[in-house]
Every structure is written in structure tokens, then in C-alpha cells.
Symmetry: D2
Subunit: 133 residues, 4 copies
């Protein structure tokens, strides 16, 4: 059964020189960084640090689907909108959208499945804090 | 009708400090760089430069699906194996696999759909050199 | 004669997975990104975009000196403190410091000399907005 | 006393989309990645991995000086030329140059001081393999 978290999370991302490539738009791999920043913020950066340093456990990206609908350029500001849900005991699915200011649809959309790994990289049930925050 | 290119392309990638993150494995977004290096090599780096500087046209990534099956660590060497096919007049699909030395299955697999854009970012038929090389 | 700008600029940088390497600290090259974000913000991101798209002119990094005094880890938050001065007609020098929360000295310090380039990459006098903001 | 290693090391770097920024040249921070690849190759990637996993010791960049003389663009190929010397018991200095094909002087030059850190991040004498290889 899918437990839907009704919350939605927003993260602002300023596009700097470092984000772009020579064709003038954001390099396609960089969106995964922005979505990663959102997920780390949602799960809780201090919590992730605590679990890593004290238990050796952390999340891992298992599956990624991205659709690129529109280019984003230097000086743009993105609103990264994220929702998420637990899918069974061992998986959380994050739904990310990158919105340009005044955009009428997301420039980029992404679905990412995340699992939780123990200190020996064994699969563990998703801790509550990952999806309940 | 799908025109299958029978060729397969291999690119070696050495994993350096720059590729890893603090959990000890390759940061998940970086595989898109390795697959991008392979596609640019397959299409032809000098050809891409020529089209960009003389016509203002280039390819763009439209859709990405990635599956992460195994972690890759510092000092590993990856073999990026790529096949590709034309899918209609406006799309080429690349199939990437990242193999560790002595791996029995790919550590990461990825399907990427690429389109071709003219100088005003309008969709153009895929040039022959993109898929026939 | 050196014209000293008395202002100082602060930019917060959250350290995410993307910033670290497998040794557990921020990868040394990434500080140049944080300092770049600060400079772009100081010069004015919309102004840089305007100059680039309308004149084809932009700044370029000419010289960099960095000292690494302390490691920075995942979950740390950095305060990037920047001061700057004009040095002659063709050069602005930026002084960056990366401070950890509760740090007693900067973790990283950096001096960066910047020049201004016209559309044919020719050296041009530094525009006022670069150092007077 | 400075012990000069007479050897020089060369590493080829192909410039891909990932390396460039929207101004059309290689993003200034990325040269540190290329120089890092060279140093890791010189010290020995398998040796670094061995020291890290078995002793928890590794090198750390302590000081960086870079001069940017010429822009490098997409499709360029760089020859990273590196020499190095031990400077006292606790420091090795690497001299990196990035040469474009047919260049008459290096596009970028860089001096990097490296130290060796034990498992508790304490300074240790530079191991022989770092500078004698």
C-alpha cells in the first residue's frame, strides 16, 4: 500500500556559471544535484549525518527517470518542488519538478526511487524519518 | 521503424577523487557525465563542434532512465558500453551500461533519448552522422 | 592606486553529498564554485546576464591563490565572506574566506584576480558595476 | 633541501560538454580536476586506494596557485604536463601545465602543495611512493 505524504517541499536554486555548459543551458546531469539537495533537505541533513557517522547507514538512489521539457539558462532561478511517498517497506519515491519563474509547466520533471542501506550495504527497511518529515 | 545500429562502443572511465562522494561511492549524477562522454565520442566531438560553431545546432537530452545496481568506488575502472538506434526521424535512443572490471552484470544501466535542435532551439530531423557513425 | 571597497559580502553554502569526496571532506576544487557564486552575486547575476547577452562581454578569472587550513564535511554550513578592491583599470581582486559555523579562523582562504573581456576576448577596463556594487 | 624528481608526467584530457560553461570556455574550477587526475595517476591510484582502505591515510591539497593565460573550448584536447619535487619531509610540490594542441605556451599553469595525513588527520612525513614514482 502506498502511503502518500501530502506535504510538498520547495527549494530555490540559483543558476550560476558552474551550472551551465557551452551550449548556453544547464548541463543535463546537474538537475540531479538540485533534486539531491531537495531530498537531503527533506530527509534532514543533520539526521543523514547522524545516521552515517553513528550507524554507517544511509540512503542510495536506485532508479531515476527524467524528462527535459525546456532549457534553463544562466541567471534563471529554479523552484524545485518535491513530493514523496513510501512504496512498500523498502522504497521511497520522490517526485521532483524544476520550475522556472513564471513557467506554465515544469522545465524538468524527475522520479527517483530511494532505498536505505546498512553499514554492509545491505537493504534495510526505510526509516520513518525519511518519509514522515 | 527502428533502424538498429549493430555497432557497440566502449569507453574506459577511471574513477578519481572527483567522482566520489563522502559515502565512498561514485555520486549518482556523475554517471550521466560518463554516458555523455560516450555519446559525444560516438557522434564525433569534432563534428559536434563544427555543427555548433557553424550552424548553431546541437543535440539535446530529452529523456533519461537510470538503474543503479551496484556501487562503484575510488580506483575502479569502468567500461562504458553503448549501443544506439534511431527511433523515427526525430529521436535517437542510446543504451549505456557501466561495467566494473570482472563484473558479472552492469553496475549501472541507462537509456537516453536525444533530439536535435536548430539555432532557434527548434526540433530538427536527426542528422545521419548522429546514428550512422 | 588601489581603491578599497569597504563593503563585505556574505553567502551561505550548505554542504551536500555533491560537494564531498570519498575521503569524507569537501573536494578541493569545489571551493572555487562557492567563491564563484559569491562573485557572481556581488557583481550582480542579472547584470552579468545582460552584459553577456547584449554585449558579449564578461569577466574572466585570471589568477587564483588558495590556502586550505581545515577540512569541511557533509552537513557543514559555510559562510563565504568576500571583500574586493579594484587594482588599476584592468583588474579587480576578490578576497574570499570560507568559515565553518563556530570556526575561529577560516577553513579556506582565497585571492582571485578577475579581468573583463569584450566580445573578441580583448581585455577591457573593469566596468564600474563590478567593483562599486 | 629540495629533492628534484627529473621525471615529467603527461595526461591527455578531452574537453567534453561537462567541462564547459555558458561563456563557451572550460569552467575555471575544472582545471583542478584535471590536475588532480594527474597527481592521482602519478602517486598511483591503486596505492592511494590501498593506503586509504588499510591505513586511513591519504594526501591533502594544502596550497594552490593558478594562472589562466588562455581559454580552452569544447572539443579541445589538453596535455597535462606535471613535474614534482619533495620540499622538506612534509610537503610535495606539483607543477602542472595544461597545453592545448599546437599551443606555444601553457593555457593554464598551476602549483599545488600536497601534504600527507594519517587516520586522525595528523600531518605525517610524505611517504616515499608519493614523490619517487
Amino acid at each position: 500500500m502506498v502511503e502518500k505524504n501530502k506535504k510538498e517541499h520547495h527549494l530555490k536554486v540559483q543558476i550560476y556559471y558552474e551550472d551551465t555548459d557551452h551550449s548556453g543551458v544547464v548541463y543535463h546531469a546537474n538537475y540531479l544535484k538540485y533534486f539531491g539537495r531537495a531530498r537531503e533537505t527533506i530527509i534532514g541533513i543533520d539526521t543523514i549525518a547522524d545516521k552515517w557517522y553513528n550507524e554507517g547507514s544511509t540512503f542510495a538512489v536506485y532508479k531515476v527517470n527524467i524528462n527535459y521539457n525546456d532549457g534553463v539558462v544562466f541567471a534563471d532561478q529554479l523552484d524545485i518542488k518535491t513530493t514523496w511517498k513510501k512504496d512498500g517497506d523498502y522504497r521511497v519515491v520522490f517526485f521532483h519538478e524544476a520550475w522556472k519563474t513564471n513557467g506554465t509547466k515544469p522545465a524538468v520533471t524527475c522520479t527517483i526511487e530511494v532505498v536505505w542501506l546498512g553499514p554492509k550495504k545491505q537493504l534495510k527497511p526505510i526509516p520513518e524519518f525519511v518519509f514522515l518529515r
